[in-house]
Structures are given as C-alpha cells and as structure tokens.
C-alpha cells in the first residue's frame, strides 16, 4: 500500500479499493466509503432499505452464516505471548468458495476487522469488541476466566456481524473468516496517510460543527447520551452488588461454622445446631451460584452495551462530520463565483453521501434498538429468574430443617 503514489488531494481515491465489488447488491449499494463513486441515486436506496424493514424476519429465516470461536491456544514468541483462537465458519452462501472454513485468529485480527468495518460503514452500528486490556479485578491476561470471557465476547461479535444485513457481506469480513493468512490482507487498504486525512477532516469539521441536525438525529443524540449514562450506572450498581454479595458470603461461612462449633459442646442441642449450620452452609453454596450467574450473564451483557454506547457516540460524531462536510462545501458554493460546476458536482456528491449515511443510520438504529432491548431483557430476566431460584432453594433448605425438627419434637412428646 505504501508503494502507491499519493495524490495531493488525498480526499480522493485512497479508499477506492472496492473490496466490495463482487459482493451482492445490498452491500455494494451501501458501501459508504468516505469518498468514492456512488452508483445509485438516493431514492433507490431508500427503497432498498424499506425492504429491509422485514430484516428480522429475513434474518431468522435466512441465517446462512454460522460462526464459532473456540480452542484458545497460547503462542509464545521471543517478543510476545498471545492467544490464537480457532474461528470456524459454516455457510450456504454462494459467494463463499466452500461451505466450511477454519482459521486461526488473534485479538489484533478482530481489531483490524472491526476498524475496517467502521471505516467502510461509518454510520452503521458495529458491535463492540471486548476490551483490549484487563479490567479491574482480573489477575492476569491469560487467566482462564478472562480467556473464556473474551472468547465468548469474540464469538458474540462475529455472530452479530454475521446477522447484520449489510456488514455480513463485507469483503473484509469474508477475508477474516476464510483466509488462512490474514497478514497480506491487513497490509492493503487505507494506510496511515488516508486515515490521517480522515482524522484531519473530522477535526476540522467538528470544530465547525453542524448547523442544523435533523430532528431525528437530535433525538437520537439525546438518547445516546442518556442511554450511555444509564447503562454505565446499571453496570456499576451490578459490580457493587457482586462485591457486597462476596463479602456476605464470607461472613455467612464463618457464621455457619460457629453453630457447628457450638454443637460440639452440647448434647440435646447438638442436632438442631448442626442442622442450622448445614442450612447456612447450603445457603452459602446457593449464594456462590447467584454471584457466578451475575458474573457470567448480566455483567457481560451490560458491559457490551456500555461499549455499544461508546460506539453509538462515535457513529453520531461521524454522521455529524459527514453533514458538516456537506454544509462546508455548500457554503463554499454559495459564496464562490468561479468553478461553479465542479463545486456543484462535489456538493451533489456530498449531499448524496449525507443522505445515504443518514438513511443507513436510521435503519441500523432501529435494528440496534431492537437487539439491545432483546439482549438486555434476556439478561435482566435471567437474573431475576436466578434470584427467584436462589430464594426457592434456600426456602426449601430451611423448611426441611423445620419439618425435621418439628417432627422430632412431636415424636418426643409421644
């Protein structure tokens, strides 16, 4: 890539790689690279997106891409240690050479894929990856729990992409799933300079700001800010609950053993004391499971959506930038006398691009919202269910103790 001559106007053809050339209609149409020929008119775009209103239905019926991530393996080299995951793809799609693929990928590869997807589709909501660095509370990067948590999140990521009507047809995605060696592909594509160009433009635009966000996106901006703050709070509360539950568990264990110790110096009381000790011990076990469930079900779900919130913010920013660019050029057009034709073309292109970006976001937004509702509803419901189960089990334990004691006292009286 670095071998190519870089045109002075880098806003030009860098991303003209058209990885998406030979893919099907949807993706080609919605390939919203920063600059580049956009073949269809906006109106036909809208039509296409209307069809996708039934996307959920379609997805459910037509899921043709199944991906799993497993078998983490440690790789140790002179300079670093990393984990390679096995990615297995099964598909019935015709544009895939085979129906089954198996490749090895590391976290960095996932990062590459995601950044490519975001580049190609700046106003689509690309599912987040698990965080790069260890979070608080984890001991080391290669701790088993950490690897397992990460593996699940990576699988979820690929699964989400595969369900996305647009992203799943990305060439980068296909390459990620199928190429034995990802390295040559990683070297292609937009390089440092074009990325820098993008960033510069983005900065320039954000300084300028958007004049008038369409109402729909004003609402969306508000929502994103609120959602982000609320989901973070829920995440924090959940972490705190886990912490308090752990401390409760420790004290309960100690408490249970004081009953057992006392039983040692009693005769008639020994049995009921041991009974209470064992009930408390059993409740400890149930508490442990309760904590584990929180850690395995609710925390990852919340965490993902905390990351989603950041993604949403970035998407909103990029959308704003696209609008800002258009506005800037429009202004330029309005104030210039010469070279009107060329400017007009540019403005038209930018207008087109803006409309397409907005539409893409509009559709993807409603898709995301449904997914979010489904995911969080499932996680919350499962948590509530687990809590009911916890109390039911503890209830059974104490009730059976009571019954056994009362039964005894009745027989004693007899």
């Amino acid at each position: 890539m670095s071998g190519h001559a870089v045109p002075a106007d880098i806003s030009g053809h860098m991303l003209d790689l058209d990885e998406d050339d030979d893919l099907d209609v949807f993706s080609k149409n919605t390939c919203l690279t920063d600059e580049g020929p956009v073949p269809n008119s906006p109106s036909s775009m809208v039509n296409q997106y209307r069809l996708e209103d039934d996307e959920e239905q379609q997805d459910a019926n037509a899921k043709d891409l199944f991906i799993s991530v497993d078998d983490p393996e440690s790789h140790i080299t002179a300079i670093e240690t990393y984990i390679m995951y096995r990615v297995v793809t099964k598909t019935t799609r015709s544009d895939f050479d085979s129906s089954e693929f198996e490749v090895r990928r590391r976290y960095q590869d996932f990062l590459w894929l995601r950044s490519k997807l975001e580049e190609s589709h700046p106003t689509l909501i690309v599912h987040p990856l698990p965080e790069k660095f260890v979070m608080k509370g984890m001991v080391e990067r290669f701790n088993d729990d950490f690897i397992e948590t990460r593996r699940k999140a990576l699988q979820r990521f690929l699964s989400r992409i595969s369900e996305h009507p647009v992203l799943s047809h990305s060439q980068h995605f296909k390459v990620f799933l199928t190429a034995q060696d990802l390295a040559p592909h990683k070297k292609q594509g937009s390089g440092f300079l074009s990325r820098m160009g993008e960033t510069m433009r983005a900065v320039a635009n954000s300084v300028r700001g958007v004049k008038d966000r369409p109402e729909e996106f004003e609402v969306l901006q508000d929502y994103v800010e609120n959602f982000s703050s609320k989901i973070s709070s829920v995440d924090k509360v959940t972490q705190r609950i886990i912490k308090e539950q752990r401390e409760y568990l420790d004290e309960l264990r100690q408490y249970s053993s004081t009953y057992a110790q006392w039983a040692g110096s009693e005769e008639n009381l020994s049995e009921p004391l041991k009974g209470v000790a064992s009930c408390a011990e059993r409740c400890c076990k149930e508490t442990e499971e309760r904590i584990q469930h929180l850690s395995e079900v609710l925390v990852p779900a919340l965490h993902e959506y905390v990351l989603c919130a950041e993604t949403l913010k970035a998407v909103m920013r990029r959308r704003d930038n696209i609008q800002a660019e258009f506005e800037a050029k429009s202004d330029a057009l309005a104030s210039r006398r010469s070279d009107l034709d060329a400017l007009q073309d540019e403005v038209d292109e930018l207008a087109d691009r803006m409309d397409k970006s907005n539409s893409a976001l509009h559709v993807d937004w409603s898709r995301w919202r449904n997914a979010m509702r489904t995911d969080l509803k499932a996680a919350f419901t499962s948590t509530a269910e687990k809590n009911v189960e916890y109390y039911e089990k503890c209830l059974a334990v104490w009730e059976s103790f009571l019954v056994s004691q009362r039964g005894e006292s009745i027989s004693q009286r007899d």
Partner: protein
C-alpha cells in the same frame, strides 16, 4: 428436692414464651408465684428527674401489672395493680437474689447497653425498638423468676411486684450486701480445692464454653446482618437508575419502571427482617447471661468447698496441738516445742490454762466445720437440682430459638421469591 425439677417443667405452651406482650398464665405444679398471679410488663415511659448527684436525667420506667390469677379464672374483671420500676431497680432485685440464693441459677436481665450491634442498628438506649425489646426482656425475667421453684416465694420479690414505696429500703435492710464480699472472692480468687465435686467442675467448664459459643455466634450474626443489609440496600440503586432510564425508553419504559419499583421495595424489606432477627439475638443473649450465672453457681460451690476444707484443716491442726500439749510428745515442729527444749517445760498451771483454751477453740472449730459442711451440702443439693432444671429449660428454649430463626429465614426467602418474581414479570414486559 431432686424430684422438683422434673415436675417443674410443665406443659407450658411452646412459643408462647416468645410472645412477651401477652400475659402468661402457666400451670406449674409446685407453689409458684405465677400460679397465684398474672404478671406482665405492660408499658414503657420516659421520665425526667434528678439523680443521685442532683443532675437532670432522662430515663425510662416500665409498668409492671399484676392481677390475681383466679380473677381471670372466675371471670372477674379486676383492674391490675401497677408499679413503675426503672432498669436499675431490676438490677438491684437481681443482685439481691444472686447474693441471697447463691445456689440458684438466677435468670438474667436484658442487656444494660446494646451490644453486638451491627452498624445500622441503633446503640441508643432511648431508641424505641431497643426500649421495646428491653420491655420484653424484663417481662421474661419476671416470668422466669416467678416460676422458679426456689425464688418465687421470696418476699422482696413480691414487694417489688406489688408495692412501689419503700422497696429499696426493704432490700437494703436484708443486709444482702454483706454477702457481696464472699461473692467477690468467689469471682476473683484462684484457690485450689482439694476435692471438688467433678460434676461441678465439668459444669463450670460447660458454662465457659456456652459463654464463648454464644458470644461468638452473636458477633458473627451481627456481621452477617451488616452484610445482608448492604446487599439489599444496593439493590435500591437499581430502583433509582431503572426509574430514570425508563424515562428515556419508549418500548422498554414501562417494564423498567415497574422493575425499579420492585427493587425499591426489595431494598426496603430488609429492615423488618433484621428487626425480627434482633429478637432471636435477644434469645441468645439471654443464654449468654445465663451461662455466666451458671458459672457463678459452680464457682460458689468451689468456694464453699474450699472454705470447708480450710475449716477442717484448721480443726485438725488445733486437735494436733492439743494432743501434743496433753502428751508432751512433739510430733510437729512448733515454736513452743523449741522453747520447751531450750528453756524447759512450762509450769503445770500454764499448761492447764492453755489446754482449756485450746479445747474451747476446738469446740468453736468443730461448730464451724459443721456449719460449713451443712452449707456445702445445702449448696450442692440445691445447686445441682437447679442446674438440672436449668439444663432442661435451656435445651427447650434454645431449640425454640433455633426454630424461630429458621422461621425468620423462611419468611425472608418467601418475600424474596415474591419480589423477584414480580421483577421478572416486569422485565418480561420490556
């Protein structure tokens, strides 16, 4: 005496003793105060007054109501006699009973200050929950004392229950405080008893273990209470956040809102549960105090035994002295023996005088030994009977307490099931 304790454990209704506020009429075989009258501690009130050093203070007084038992039986509605007493007067009564009847395991009072407090629980003696629990504890104390075969007939006790005036004077007039000295000795002294009864030694050991275990349990329970309180309260934060979040969501709003409400009520529910547990803690504290009373009785046995041994030893040595004087044979080293050798034997008149003095001393010592032996024997008999009675009562009471604790846990679980089922339903509406 020994037979008493068996019959005394009457068919007193299980569980009724836990309900302090209702007055309790219990059938007891032997002649007990409770057979003749109903007793309850009905109310508590704040008073202000000047204390011993003329400073204003606020304190709580408790109303003791008594009614002849046969009145209720005959269907007569008779207004009760009532007496107001404060906690310090109860303490005085108990101190009197302990010193006057050192062979009985005297029932304990509720704690003077809130102990084993978990941090949200008030340690304030004026706190209404504390006062209420103390009222129940004081009533339990009176009921236990009034149904104790040995204690219930005490005059000072009936005076305490029925006549507010001059009670303190009457107590001090008994001179019970004189016995306080020997009591202090019993607690502080490290004396070696040559032949204590093994059963008392074992029982003392047991009392120490009981004290240790109940206090460990109370401490651990308070820590658990602290933790469980925190867990419930943190869920209240869900309530707040869900509520705020629901304002931003269209489809999910209702579900989130109602889930938030359930989380709020979950968080609030812990207060009541832990208050119930305090009553269980009180039951344990009662036996923590009982353990100490038990230990005191065992120590008293050791003391009386020791005093008997000392008196016997004293008698023996006096007799020996007399023998030596009479026979002139010096079997033991004595200063007199040495001076005799050095300066010759004393005159017969002097010897006679000393002999008769020794005889008197011996007679006194024999009386002393007899008295001590009788005291010892009385103590052993009465104490052991009471200890057996106490054991049975302890097993019954503590077993009830444990079942009560299980019932509290069951209640907590049921509430938990309800709240989380409701919450689950709310989430399903999201």
């Amino acid at each position: 005496m020994m037979a008493e304790n068996g019959k005394d454990e009457a068919a007193a209704s299980d569980g009724e003793s836990a309900d302090g506020s209702a007055s309790l009429t219990v059938e007891r075989r032997d002649s007990n105060l409770l057979r003749r009258m109903e007793i309850c501690v009905a109310e508590a009130e704040k008073r202000s007054g000047k204390n011993a050093i003329s400073m204003q203070e606020t304190f709580t007084v408790y109303l003791i109501e008594t009614r002849p038992a046969d009145a209720a039986a005959e269907g007569r509605v008779q207004p009760p006699e009532s007496v107001w007493r404060r906690y310090s007067e109860f303490e005085l009564l108990r101190a009197y009973l302990i010193l006057t009847y050192p062979f009985y395991v005297v029932p304990p009072l509720p704690e003077k200050r809130a102990e084993f407090v978990w941090h949200k629980l008030s340690a304030d003696n004026m706190d209404p929950d504390f006062v209420e629990r103390r009222r129940i504890g004081l009533e339990n104390f009176l009921l236990h004392v009034a149904s104790h075969p040995g204690l219930s007939n005490d005059k000072i006790l009936s005076h305490f229950l029925t006549e507010e005036n001059c009670w303190k004077e009457a107590v001090y007039e008994t001179g019970f405080q004189d016995k306080a000295d020997s009591r202090m000795r019993a607690f502080g002294a490290t004396f070696r008893v040559r032949s204590p009864q093994k059963c008392f030694i074992d029982m003392k050991q047991y009392s120490e273990e009981l004290q240790c275990h109940t206090s460990q349990l109370l401490r651990a329970r308070a820590r658990v209470a602290d933790r469980v309180y925190a867990v419930y309260k943190v869920h209240g934060n869900y309530g707040r956040v869900f509520s705020e979040w629901s304002g931003v969501e269209k489809v999910m709003g209702d579900g989130l809102q109602s889930a938030g409400h359930h989380m709020d009520s979950y968080a609030a529910s812990i207060e009541e549960i832990l208050e119930e547990e305090e009553h269980y803690a009180d039951q344990l504290k009662e036996y923590l105090c009982y353990a100490e009373a038990l230990r005191a009785v065992c120590r008293k046995h050791e003391l009386t035994q020791f005093e008997l041994e000392t008196a016997s030893q004293d008698l023996i040595s006096k007799k020996q002295q007399r023998d030596e004087l009479a026979t002139g044979m010096v079997r033991t080293f004595s200063f007199k023996g040495v001076t005799n050798k050095l300066f010759g034997q004393e005159a017969p008149e002097q010897r006679e005088a000393r002999l008769s003095m020794l005889d008197e001393l011996i007679a006194d010592a024999e009386d002393s030994v007899r008295a001590k032996a009788a005291e010892c024997e009385e103590h052993v008999q009465k104490a052991w009977a009471d200890i057996l009675r106490f054991k049975e009562e302890k097993d019954k009471d503590l077993r009830e307490a444990l079942l009560n604790y299980a019932a509290i846990q069951i209640n907590m679980c049921k509430k938990g099931i309800q709240v989380w089922s409701n919450t689950r339903e709310s989430f399903q509406k999201m």
